[in-house]
């Protein structure tokens, strides 16, 4: 996290100099980047900072005076709940251990790129089917959700005239013409 912040802030500090931005376009991003850079550096070396500076960087601040014992009680109950059995997934059934968050992010990333390439209308049912099937949702419900999601995308195309049926690489929109005709007749 800190490395990402350092790299980002360095880019925002150096790029205006390299690309020779005018003053009014340069000062504000560089000011904010300087705060991010200094803050991230301080956090990176927080264990080695001397005295008062170390306290400033490491100490937590909380000016609100809510009942900490009540909050602790809630946190404890939540911890007890999250300690329950892991989810059933298709992977686990076949002996593959895939982190649920990683699966969610990877499948969403594939969905994003596939949507960009071939249009969201056509990849949405596949994404929803794959995701729900992975988490062992009832097949009928999987199909119902896939249909619902596709209808939502189709409504966006119809009412907001969004080209969600056209990808940047593949264009399957001509396949929709008969459907459009049927909808038009109805």
């Amino acid at each position: 996290m800190l490395v990402v912040l350092l790299v980002l802030s360095a880019v925002f500090l150096i790029e205006p100099i390299v690309s020779n931005y005018p003053d009014d376009a340069r000062v504000f991003p560089q000011m904010t980047a300087a705060v991010v850079l200094v803050g991230s550096l301080l956090l990176l070396v927080r264990n080695y900072l001397p005295g008062a500076l170390g306290t400033v960087v490491n100490e937590s601040i909380n000016i609100t005076t809510s009942d900490s014992s009540a909050q602790e009680q809630v946190a404890q109950r939540e911890a007890e709940q999250t300690g329950s059995a892991p989810k059933r997934t298709l992977g686990r059934e076949y002996g593959y251990e895939v982190n649920d968050t990683v699966f969610m992010v990877v499948s969403s990333t594939i969905y994003f790129f596939a949507g960009w390439a071939a249009g969201f209308l056509f990849v949405t049912p596949l994404f929803v089917l794959a995701y729900t099937a992975w988490f062992r949702i009832r097949p009928l419900l999987c199909v119902a959700l896939a249909v619902l999601s596709t209808v939502i995308v189709y409504l966006f195309i119809e009412f907001l005239l969004l080209p969600l049926d056209q990808g940047q690489i593949l264009d399957f929109s001509p396949f929709l013409d008969p459907i459009g005709l049927v909808v038009g007749v109805i």
Binding site: V35, E59, I63, T64, F120
Partner: protein, 511 residues
């Protein structure tokens, strides 16, 4: 006589504007959107892990075709509905649908376990709506004072206010001050991507035409709230299954609230007061209200074991927090919570600038929002009490069904904004960033505030420098710009104060 006439004409003008606001709020289709928002809010709030910021972030781009007032009222209704909806899951399955309902679990769940689930839900509905209703009236009454304050602000003050807002949020949200500041500055930094505000210089676009308009703050809101929250939800085990029978009586629950008028009023005042402090949302106000009730009723209370006052206090505080948090959001553009950050995004997306415009030329819109709060709390009672018998079904929905639908809506919504694939990519990238920011205790609200307020802060910063001929003294001039100077002192006090406190205490003890 002249003064009296002026005051009278001002009062009449205010009444005219309130009437106009009322007319807008009850006109069709605005009132219909309010009802839709309320229902949606109750459902989203009742689903553990969803809550108001997520729901509002997903709905935000979908409001594009709507009229600005209808869109904002829809968002406010979702916010208000979710505040009540959160209590359903808190009471029935001990898992708060929203963070603000966390304190309700303390006595709500034990009450449900004792066979009083309907009582607890009715208490939550009545206390929440009653105080939300009263807070909306207070909001309408205090708005004339706000107008005067808001109109005193100029460019330097607005720039400093944006910085003050981010600073305040870093200390109100618990954790390291440096991390909070880094998060806020990172948001401001990201907001500078795209064509410069004053000169048409493409900044940090690296030749990508899709980045010339910058990263849409709505896409950032969707990423930070909806996508990041789905990542968190994906990591969670199955939601707790309800082992509660819906026993008890709705009528008794409603009557219980009226047995404790002091508790109700106190919770309402705490909720509204804390809501007005930028950065401190309903999570803080509900715990403070609960703690205060437990403290003042220590002798006769059985808090934590199903005391009805343990439900009245947090639920009586959460809806007034919505009204309270609208004060800094609408008057200065400083949101009090994640939900108000999304609301601020909605205002800006629909071309409504918080501050002098909303309290000047567009005052009728502001009043329409206040009136809609008032009306939505009446609807909460009607809808809330009627959904109680079916409430448990909402909490049984599997989160794995919700996640793919939210992801689809987030991506499509982001694309709807500008038909720009970079906005969809931003949802994904900022969602992952948001997830790790939460994991490593960086304030997501400070980051979002930075992105939303970035253009406003930058524009006012340069406008101030143009006024002063390039001199930074304009921010530190106690004689000509006392408000500016006070804001600088405020920022310094916020940033340095907490660290000087121990030294001051030591010095005072020695004396």
């Amino acid at each position: 006589m002249v003064v009296e006439a002026v005051v009278e004409s001002q009062v009449l003008l205010q009444l005219d504007t309130i009437t106009e606001g009322l007319r807008i709020a009850i006109s069709w289709p605005v009132i219909g959107w309010m009802a839709v928002g309320l229902l949606l809010g109750i459902v989203l709030g009742a689903l553990p892990g969803i809550g108001s910021p997520v729901g509002m972030a997903i709905v935000l781009p979908l409001t594009l075709p709507l009229d600005a007032t209808a869109a904002i009222i829809l968002l406010v209704a979702i916010y208000s509905g979710a505040m009540f909806g959160g209590s359903i899951a808190a009471i029935l399955i001990n898992a708060p649908g929203t963070e603000s309902a966390a304190a309700t679990t303390l006595d709500g769940y034990p009450m449900a376990k004792q066979g009083l689930a309907k009582n607890a839900l009715a208490i939550a509905t009545t206390a929440s709506a009653l105080n939300g209703f009263l807070a909306a009236i207070v909001l309408i009454l205090i708005s004339p004072i706000l107008i005067g304050v808001v109109l005193a602000f100029g460019s330097p003050e607005y720039f400093l206010l944006a910085i003050l807002g981010i600073s305040l949020i870093t200390i109100v949200t618990q954790g390291s001050l440096v991390k909070g500041l880094v998060a806020g500055a990172l948001g401001l930094m990201i907001s500078t991507i795209g064509t410069g505000i004053l000169s048409p210089t493409p900044r940090f676009t690296f030749g990508q035409f899709g980045l010339y308009n910058g990263i849409s703050f709505v896409a950032a809101l969707i990423g930070m709230f909806a996508f990041a929250e789905m990542m968190k939800l994906a990591a969670r085990s199955q939601i707790a299954e309800s082992d509660i029978e819906l026993g008890g009586s709705i009528k008794d629950g409603v009557m219980t609230v009226f047995k404790y008028p002091k508790t109700v009023l106190k919770a309402g005042l705490i909720g509204m007061g804390i809501g007005m402090i930028p950065g401190s949302g309903a999570t803080t106000s509900t715990f403070v209200a609960y703690a205060e009730e437990a403290r003042s009723s220590a002798t006769d209370g059985r808090f934590g074991e199903g005391d009805p006052r343990g439900v009245i206090a947090p639920e009586g505080a959460n809806n007034p927090t919505v009204s309270g948090s609208l004060v800094p959001t609408l008057s200065f553009g400083i949101p009090g919570s994640g939900s108000t950050a999304v609301l601020l995004g909605g205002l800006l997306m629909h071309g409504l600038q918080p501050g002098p415009t909303l309290f000047g030329d567009q005052l009728q819109i502001t009043y329409a929002i206040f009136v809609s709060l008032f009306l939505s709390n009446i609807l909460i009672v009607l809808v809330g009490l009627s959904v109680i018998p079916y409430a448990s079904r909402l909490t049984e929905i599997d989160t794995n069904i919700i996640i793919p639908v939210v992801v689809v809506l987030s991506f499509i919504g982001a694309y709807t904004l500008n038909r720009n694939w970079f906005d969809v990519g931003a949802v994904l990238a900022l969602g992952v960033l948001g997830f790790y920011m939460v994991r490593y205790n960086y304030s997501v609200i400070a980051f979002v505030l930075g992105i939303v307020l970035g253009p406003i802060a930058e524009e006012n910063f340069f406008r101030s420098l143009q006024i002063s001929g390039g001199s930074y003294d304009i921010f530190f001039d106690p004689i000509n710009r006392p408000l500016s100077f006070l804001l600088v002192l405020g920022i310094l006090f916020i940033l340095v104060g907490p660290f000087l406190k121990p030294a001051i205490e030591r010095a005072l003890n020695r004396a």
